[in-house]
């Protein structure tokens, strides 16, 4: 827990200063989670604000302060899911669609000013984003929480409110779909390689 239970109880009772402190404590973590869930840097802050807005108006429904973190994760997942449903991710990235940071990065890469590590990181992000866009929003969110955020099955149980076995099945299926997409991407790149070699 990043804050003590007392602060959450005060926020629940309508103390604005306490709510402010809760947001300040959790905003960075929430922004990071949303960034990994939606992969569109320009909209991360907007979705995070929506999460805290929902938190403000639903705090009174929180039964105990002990379950605050899974509750916040749940709100984050729901907001990310709503966002992804509204803005179906496009497979291709157009320059007009990129954030300022991404445009600068793309320019720098083109100019050869970015070192090898940065280029590699960008490649990893693009690869995983492409793989995750090949599966449904629900699979994407579940896999990101488990494999990237590193949440345990117990934590996921509290967020999704389903038992461990059901979660394991969902995770297995989601993973299979991503593996299939990975296999297809591998076949495609090998095909291109062969075609190039023939030319």
């Amino acid at each position: 827990m990043l804050v003590d239970f007392e602060l959450i109880k005060r926020a629940q009772a309508g103390d604005s200063a306490a709510f402010n402190e809760v947001v300040l404590a959790y905003r960075k973590r929430t922004l990071g989670t949303i960034a990994r869930l939606i992969s569109r840097p320009e909209d991360v802050e907007d979705v995070a604000q929506e999460v805290f807005l929902r938190l403000y108006f639903s705090l009174d429904q929180l039964r105990t302060a002990e379950v605050f973190e899974p509750w916040l994760y749940r709100l984050t997942v729901n907001a990310a899911y709503d966002y992804l449903r509204k803005h179906r991710r496009r497979m291709e990235s157009r320059m007009s669609d990129l954030s300022e940071q991404q445009v600068m990065l793309a320019d720098a890469v083109a100019g050869g000013r970015v070192d090898h590590e940065v280029r590699q990181q960008r490649q990893v992000r693009e690869t995983v984003d492409a793989l995750l866009s090949a599966v449904s929003e629900a699979d994407r969110i579940l896999l990101t929480l488990k494999e990237v955020e590193g949440l345990s099955l117990k934590e996921l149980e509290k967020i999704y409110r389903v038992n461990e076995n059901a979660l394991k099945v969902r995770l297995f299926r989601a993973r299979q779909r991503v593996l299939k997409a990975l296999g297809e991407a591998g076949d495609e790149s090998r095909g291109k390689g062969t075609a190039k070699a023939e030319i």
């Binding site: 960034a35 990893v124 995983v128 494999e147």
Partner: protein, 113 residues
Amino acid sequence: MSNYRNNRGDANAELNTLFQAYRAACPETEPSANFMPEIWRRIEDRQRSMFFLGRWARAFVTAAAVLSLGMAAYLYIPKGHNTIISVESYVEAIAAGHAVDSAEFIDPSLDEL
């Protein structure tokens, strides 16, 4: 078969490595200076719209209640013509309704024809 398993195992390991690398490759997202003020602005906007919605809903409920009471009163208060207790017989009522056909207005000369 074992080749297939090896391939699946390799793909799983590759996916795990990719996810780990992805976590490391995602940059830290720093909140902008406008983050907190914007949250409070949105909270106040929502509260304002909820307040107006609440007022509108209360006004609607009041109007609906008044209308219902009015309709109930209209339906249950006895109407004026229902209170007249008729003492006429059926024949008297028919005769009253067809006053032109009564005997005193029939021309006696017509009987002779």
